[in-house]
């Protein structure tokens, strides 16, 4: 298990990706034709080499917006992002071409990543083996089940062996075996020094993460709690505190 890397490096670890004072407000395309929604109000995030970070927050809190800004899919209204590493992005929606086969999809993305054909084939085979979609390589994306599509979605992000992996709800639709294979894969990657940030609105296995960042009111806050403590226990602790505070107020 690789979760100790962050504790080994601590704040001394190499920074691989940093977003400072990120701001984002969605405005209607035409004045008065919709509402302005402010999602980020000066969010700061720093990712260190070889750590695995969970990003949580309630629906609509701006988690996906934050990730889009970190990968460059969206321009922030304020703040900046600095990185000089290979990034892999697995968006929440698959964002692939429905009418291409899985093989063609890998071919296209390998070209985008400037990978050689041999290297792409090696990586594709390894990922297909690991996530168990080898028999679907000649299937069109729109002929895949939701879970298999998500496997391809994730594999495309992993294809070029990125140094930072940004995953937005990556295990949606996975069956239990694939879910375990996913965590097995992330452990291997983190052991190799890959940094992984995972967005989820519900992180049920806190012990799998080095840090949990909560996006609330447009800003990120690191959740406190002893490392390795199950998220469910942390929840119970919070609920207990809230109850105590409530009874004091009453």
């Amino acid at each position: 298990m690789s979760k100790s890397i962050k504790s080994q490096t601590g704040s001394e670890g190499k920074i691989v990706l940093q977003g400072k004072n990120l701001e984002k407000t969605y405005k209607p395309p035409v004045p008065f034709a919709g509402r302005r929604v402010t999602v980020l109000t000066g969010a700061d995030i720093t990712l260190y080499q070889g750590e695995i970070v969970g990003i949580v927050g309630e629906n609509g809190s701006g988690k996906s917006t934050l990730m889009k800004i970190l990968v460059g899919a969206l321009q922030p209204d304020g703040g900046n992002v600095t990185d000089d590493v290979r990034i892999g992005w697995c968006p929440q929606e698959t964002r692939l071409y429905d009418r291409l086969t899985v093989e063609e999809t890998f071919e296209l993305f390998a070209e985008a990543y400037d990978m050689s054909n041999e290297y792409m084939q090696k990586r594709r085979e390894a990922l297909a083996e690991k996530l168990d979609f080898k028999r679907f390589l000649d299937y069109r994306i729109d002929h895949l089940s939701g879970g298999n599509r998500q496997k391809v979605n994730l594999s495309v992000a992993l294809l070029h062996e990125p140094e930072v992996l940004l995953l937005d709800e990556p295990y949606t639709g996975f069956d239990w075996e694939t879910y375990l294979a996913f965590w097995n894969l992330t452990d291997t990657l983190v052991d190799k020094g890959t940094t992984i940030a995972i967005i989820s609105h519900l992180i049920s296995e806190r012990e799998r993460f080095d840090r949990i960042l909560e996006l609330k009111n447009g800003q990120l806050h690191e959740q406190e709690g002893p490392p390795g403590e199950p998220r469910s226990a942390a929840h119970r602790e919070e609920e207990k505190n809230e109850e105590e505070n409530g009874s004091t107020e009453n």
């Binding site: 929606e93 692939l96 009418r99």
Partner: protein
Amino acid sequence: MRKFFIGTRLRVVELTRQPLTLGMLILLPPAVIEMYGIAVASFPQLPSLGADPATVGRITGTLFSVAFLAGLIGLFQVISARNGDERVAIAGFSRRIMLTSRLITMVVVSLAGAVVAFLVFNFRVTVANPLMAFWILTLAGLVYGLLGVIIGTLIPQPLEGSIVLVFMADLDNALSSGLFPLTASISLPVMGEIAVTDLVPLYHPHELFVSAVLQGELAAEHLLPVLGWIGGLLLVAFLAYGQSTGEGWIGMVPGWSK
């Protein structure tokens, strides 16, 4: 160059896997050309038409079917691939190459549409210069294919984009067909006083097509404006695509990137 070839090949592969589109490409031109021929056949034989009304109707229907199909495919190509394009661009594919490969696909669509429409048209009407007429149809397809790409880029919603394209193509076709001899003109800077009909995208292709079909001659004074339309629309397509995808127009200039 490798990126360009792979991108273009996969765009064409995607296109060939759309049975409905391919069906439209084969079935729509005969239906539209015949319906236009039948509808316009009942028009009075006016000297301004230049040919019998049924032929004029088929000429109008042929241009419309090629242009509208290319426009629709251009529009939906851009809209349906928007999310995928964004991800591939972030992965490292140049947006300039991506748009160029889409435009090459547009040329393929325009050629295919022109082949089908021309074969149907030629079956019903004797064409004085078949090869010239065919290439003019391809140019008309290109003009509207580019318009479709621009509309799809600026209005990335299937319903709204289609509505704009439908109204534009209908109005354009009606004005350029010569079936409604309008005399309205407007005064424009540089161009001076100009007939309203001369400003619509299909006007010059229509004049070229009529000349090739009926006289077998190249109406040279209309060729340059058509090429001008294509060049102008290409420029607008690159600028609009660059702006709408966040690349910025400068990012679409070869040798520059953000």
